[in-house]
Symmetry: D2
Subunit: 261 residues, 4 copies
């Protein structure tokens, strides 16, 4: 078998290097957010970039036991008390298109639109307007825009503030602001939500679309871990009783089918 | 890298063989239960053995959407509408020690006790009595024995009937019957439940302990598949709202912690 | 919380019913393939339908330890010797778009095209021709068509023979045959492969697109179970050594980053 | 259904609180390591505690594509290009007893032994000596002790230095040092490895045994994310070809088995 290639990390009998940095030096001097950035970008972050990674991971870390990822993790934990990795994995698997997927969809949208902008020479504002018109025509919701209850999402402001203060804000944030403006003109005023803010910043940090979901997963695993420990500590095995209504066929006779026929 | 070894299946550009049998011949003439047996035992089953595999897989196939495996699968499916494999995997992960684990524990108990019997020359009855005495002294529940509501488990009788009629019944069933007798003498009358019956038969079919859980998984995946399709078909994304009570710290000020400190 | 609805199975303290049939009666008289069909269709299969389910599950059951699903299961098993459910789940997760996904894509293609046929009144032959023309124009491969080495796939013939003999063959098989014909005219002669044959038959049995992947999973879990048992039985923990070539940055000094900054 | 209880986080339409702290304030001022600590301990860490969490997460973050967790994630990614959550989950599932399990086993050992110490009034040194004697008598390896190639593990020193400087070092570190001493006397000089160092510190931070594995998972998910992105970016689907040697039965005829019998 041909060797697998990697540019991420290497080791010999006495060292592990992550992107060339000795892991013991990173342990002594860096933060986990530094290493998350390093693993994906190949260089250490600036202070502002590091603060953005922290802010994004924290924004995703936990949303209570009732979110699909935590509910799946805790449900598995009630049946599986000895393999916490199984519960964490189940929680990760719930992070699909409907739960946690807006970040990926929004980062993909920004990436695709900015590629168009570079190709066509259109302005970001014009490109954003076309995205909104297309979505409206197709009755499609725009990822990263809108919030059930907020007229503004305070998490968006925290993320954008760090990005601006640290001179990280670029086309990603610019596009999302134009998108918000175009939505207000064409449809109605709707805020950039935290998924949209994270996608904008991930774009400005130079991350590819899968990070729109993967960063959410990295952050959320911390919350899943806490949820699973709480399940093990406070609850008994098999405690979850989902109420069920059956509306299928009534009991019936099996009739003529025979074993082995 | 050294090649991986397998004795299960092989293929060339024009064939797949499972344990030496051409897969097209198996497709034309065998049943899935034949192949489940073949994959794990290296030979095709007798008619009675095949009927036992079918009966065991059917016994495990589904127990409604509220069992932890189905609840986990459906919870993942509400967050992840495009990757049904994720929902199935989450359901499989709930099959741990507390859910679906009795079969594994019981098959391990039978295997260990029968090894002792062979070493010590004790009778199966004496060995079963000692198992019950030990469990009682340690306040441990015996796997495969007892049922919430039944004084007898009708599924046990179906499985044992096929085994006896087909001359497959051996030390596994003999041991479980002695165990039931000893429990009745030492504790109180309790029936062999379906997990105990399956473990007994798996032992008599010559399967190792992990099959006590794996056969449950093979059967249950069929039910999980149906549960996931029903979730996709009848329900909308993110529809599950788990009611949650929070009893942690009240809102509090963050105080002196500073970004990057 | 509102009860979850299901039309699949129900139970009381003394019974489990699958689609209204008592599970003990199914255990005594039915095969697993009968129950796989029943769980998804709400009725028991005819003899030919049951034989098709068996043939399809067998076709998917195992393809050796080197397929991504088995390789993932065995890799997890080398790190996790006590939770076989983790290894099975990892194997299931490899069944995505590139591995095992052709069945889903082909069943979706058949379903969409036949919906068009019903709407537009086009012939199946014309619809198949358009599908081929479109795929050719877009340089897209057609799912269910072509085989690395075969000019015909013998598994396709087994499946189609059972379908025809049992009078189950319908528009699904008819469409795939027209597709094969159109491919031969427009591109070059390429056979219907087993994924295409299964998709055709699933359509004719009335199954929705997700079954194109889920049936593959139900069958493959049997093979994964055998692969995991073989890994536990024949190999030691952590035995897999993937050869790796590192081509990232050379060792470098960490420089000015400071703990907590 | 009774509500699920949690003391971890809460939310209303306009806020998310983690342990009472508003998530936007945490995003603006805290690091991810602060929040990992907060989620599991219910309070914010001191500077030294936060640095220990960072150091431990970094120590676990990546060990190249050939470790079972990364190999499983990349194998799933070759078959599943559209659901990165599936690849991450598979990687998490490889973190069992043999891979990443030493931390859990060591934290359990420390917890159990220190409970004994408190009950019996034995010294930590005497307790450590008995642990070593027992392990030697049972030919059992001690978790957290020994390293393939090192006479000392530099990562251990980093972790212990931060703990000591920050006055976090307690009975966990004391016990591991006594264990190292007893091993040197009874068996041969062997260093405390990084798993043992992390277990010692987790004990001194007041974390329960499951964190021995869960903290490893939280850290490793960052590396798995980078490995999966690299797989998607640099490699093609289905690229992994595991070399396989088949040593099972030779091709044979199916004989008398008949469809449906």
């Amino acid at each position: 078998m041909e060797p697998w290639r990697t540019a991420i990390s290497s080791s010999d009998d006495e060292h592990i290097w992550i992107q060339g940095y000795d892991v013991t030096q990173l342990m002594a001097s860096a933060t986990f957010a530094d290493v998350v950035f390093l693993l994906h970008k190949g260089r250490l972050p600036s202070e502002a970039e590091r603060r953005l990674v922290d802010a994004m991971l924290i924004a995703c870390a936990d949303h209570g036991p009732g979110s699909p990822s935590a509910a799946a993790a805790r449900t598995v934990a009630t049946g599986n008390r000895v393999a916490p990795e199984a519960a964490i994995a189940a929680g990760v698997l719930a992070i699909g298109d409907a739960h946690g997927g807006a970040g990926l969809a929004c980062l993909q949208l920004i990436t695709d639109t900015m590629n168009d902008v570079r190709t066509t020479g259109a302005t970001i504002a014009a490109a954003a307007r076309r995205v909104v018109d297309d979505a409206r025509a197709a009755h499609r919701r725009l990822p990263g825009i809108g919030h059930r209850t907020h007229s503004r999402d305070p998490r968006t402001e925290v993320v954008f503030d760090i990005a601006r203060t640290g001179h990280v804000a670029g086309d990603g944030i610019a596009f999302m602001l134009e998108l918000e403006k175009a939505v207000a003109e064409v449809i109605k005023p709707l805020p950039i939500n935290v998924d949209g803010a994270i996608a904008a910043v991930l774009y400005d940090l130079g991350f590819p679309p899968p990070l729109g979901k993967l960063l959410f997963i990295v952050g959320r695993v911390a919350g899943l871990s806490a949820q699973v420990v709480e399940e093990y500590t406070r609850e008994r095995a098999m405690r979850i009783k989902i109420p069920v209504t059956y509306d299928g066929p009534a009991p019936r006779e099996l009739g003529t089918i025979k074993a082995g026929r």
